[in-house]
């Protein structure tokens, strides 16, 4: 036969969709496609179009993660087969039966029991997504904030913003899912109490639900595609390759879970495979995604080429520029060389934070260096957050005369390690000079003045 005899389809469903699954399978068979197996991809075989009844039932005692059939599940299947239902396949706790008989009784005749089973199964299987994952995410977020000092700093990193956005989307989805489930459950419960039909999800709603699965997949796909294309365009082979590897990895995971379901791997095997995949995925995401795909945040040590504020007269915060170097402060003379001068940091649409470092070579009699951070944002609340976090961290805060720096505020922040920082707040910028002590005072004073000059010029 030249015609296609099998059909593979993606069916997304939840345990509240059992009725819709039946409706769907009945419709498929009426069109001449008979269900063979369900999984990541469900398989259909060509048949004579016919009218049959399908039943999708939950077996609460069955494992949610494995499709292997236990003795207990086999008893259940036997009992249903005796009653005239042919067992087709199972996916987790869901068992699919089919019958041509008009007289075969409904498999579950107690609607209250069915509802209770659905609730139990749903809560059990969503335990990880609804409880564990959010807890891990909140923990991870708190750790990120602590490591960076403030949310204001995170706002200057695209990777942090992207992570926060993903978390937010995830939380939103979870909240919507839980709210949807509660709403449905309350309705269903009162329907059972008054002897009405439980309002199960219908075929139309199931089709809409499919979009909920496709859209996130499409978004991830687009991000990966964009990353590999931009990697190739920028000539960044590693970035392109990483995006490709992750794409292949994701496809491999989908294929593997399809295989796991098909081969009826026992629960313990599924757990082991999942743990291995999670670890691999975590390291890939941490070291791959963070440092390559969202490459904007890769910490780069770049030797300053020229101090741009002298020539251009404007302050440009980008990786190649350094607003104030020792050279600009007339400290470097012919014999001396400026070394270790680098700038790193990142900039987003919300904020920018750069750290600068410049030292004189040791040949000087009095080696000097200047280390400072510049934080910039158009948003008052972010700047306030940044200032507050530094003040909170400091052991002693001394307010200095801000006039000498031509700034709005100036504070000496003494830390636990005995070193002090000088924080100067300008209209748009916050500059923090590190290691502020008496000897470095003249240097920092002139640096602050120079910085003010730059701001005046710009």
């Amino acid at each position: 036969m030249k015609q296609k005899n099998t059909l593979k389809k993606f069916i997304s469903f939840r345990y509240t969709d059992l009725t819709a699954v039946c409706e769907y399978l009945e419709e498929m068979e009426a069109q001449g496609w008979q269900l063979v197996s369900m999984g990541m991809l469900s398989e259909f075989r060509k048949c004579e179009p016919r009218k049959v009844r399908y039943a999708a039932e939950l077996l609460e005692s069955a494992s949610a993660i494995s499709n292997s059939i236990s003795d207990k599940s086999q008893d259940y299947i036997d009992m249903c087969e005796q009653a005239g239902w042919e067992f087709i396949c199972n996916i987790g706790k869901m068992f699919i039966f089919r019958t041509e008989s008009e007289t075969a009784p409904e498999i579950v005749t107690d609607s209250a029991e069915k509802l209770a089973d659905i609730k139990k199964a749903l809560l059990k299987t969503n335990f990880i997504t609804w409880l564990i994952l959010p807890v891990i995410m909140i923990f991870n977020f708190v750790m990120q904030v602590r490591a960076n000092g403030s949310i204001a700093v995170l706002a200057s990193q695209y990777i942090a913003l992207a992570t926060m956005l993903l978390y937010l989307l995830f939380f939103l989805t979870v909240i919507l899912q839980i709210a949807g489930f509660i709403r449905w459950y309350v309705k269903a419960k009162s329907a059972v109490a008054s002897g009405l039909q439980i309002p199960y999800v219908g075929l139309k709603q199931l089709r809409r639900r499919k979009l909920e699965t496709y859209i996130p997949l499409a978004i991830i796909g687009i991000i990966l595609l964009a990353a590999s294309i931009s990697g190739i365009i920028q000539g960044d082979i590693i970035m392109g390759a990483m995006a490709l590897i992750i794409t292949i990895f994701l496809i491999a995971i989908i294929a593997l879970s399809h295989l796991i379901q098909k081969l009826r791997v026992p629960a313990i095997g599924v757990i082991i495979i999942s743990v291995v995949i999670s670890i691999a995925m975590m390291s890939l995401i941490t070291y791959g995604l963070v440092f390559t795909i969202l490459g904007v945040d890769r910490e780069q040590d770049k030797i300053k080429t020229d101090p741009i504020f002298n020539k251009a007269g404007t302050l440009m915060l980008n990786e190649d520029s350094m607003p104030i170097s020792l050279n600009d402060l007339d400290i470097v003379d012919d014999r001396q060389e400026e070394v270790n001068n680098y700038v790193y940091g990142s900039k987003t649409i919300l904020a920018a934070k750069y750290s600068y470092n410049s030292e004189l070579a040791v040949m000087s009699d009095n080696p000097q260096g200047i280390y400072y951070d510049v934080y910039y944002s158009n948003y008052e609340f972010l700047k306030k957050m940044y200032i507050d976090s530094l003040i909170r961290e400091a052991q002693i805060v001394d307010d200095l005369k801000q006039e000498q720096f031509g700034a709005n505020e100036a504070h000496k922040l003494s830390n636990a390690d005995g070193l002090s920082d000088l924080m100067i707040v300008y209209d748009d910028y916050i500059v923090v000079y590190h290691y502020y002590h008496d000897e470095s005072k003249p240097l920092i004073n002139s640096a602050a003045k120079a910085f003010q000059n730059v701001l005046d010029l710009s």
Binding site: L59, K72, Y76, D78, M79, C80, Q82, A83, T109
Partner: protein, 105 residues
């Protein structure tokens, strides 16, 4: 995991226990329930499966023989006691109502 103890019997449970006063397998229970209730009560295989495991863990019934694809059950003494109790309760309900209901005619 401790099993929830059965305190009262629902209507289908009462009929299933009645039908297990003789040794029966799943499909036989279903048709017997249908027969003794005159078709009023029918019980699906999924519901029956859950009910039988509940009865078995509460020692109201026991599995007497296993054949391929079918298991035969029979009621235990504990199950008979429970059935008697339920029967007495229902009889009491009917007796209590009789005088009044007959007076209505």
């Amino acid at each position: 995991m401790p099993r929830e103890a059965l305190k009262t019997l629902s209507e289908p449970m009462y009929y299933v226990l009645l039908s297990l006063t003789e040794e029966r397998c799943g499909i036989e229970i279903m048709s017997k329930v249908n027969e003794i209730s005159g078709g009023r009560v029918s019980i699906g295989p999924g519901t029956l499966y859950t009910m039988l495991s509940k009865f078995e863990s509460n020692d109201l019934i026991r599995c007497v023989s296993v054949e391929p694809k079918r298991k035969n059950y029979i009621i235990t003494n504990l199950g008979i006691a429970m059935l008697r109790e339920e029967y007495a309760r229902i009889a009491c309900l009917a007796a209590d109502g009789r005088a009044i209901m007959e007076g209505l005619k």
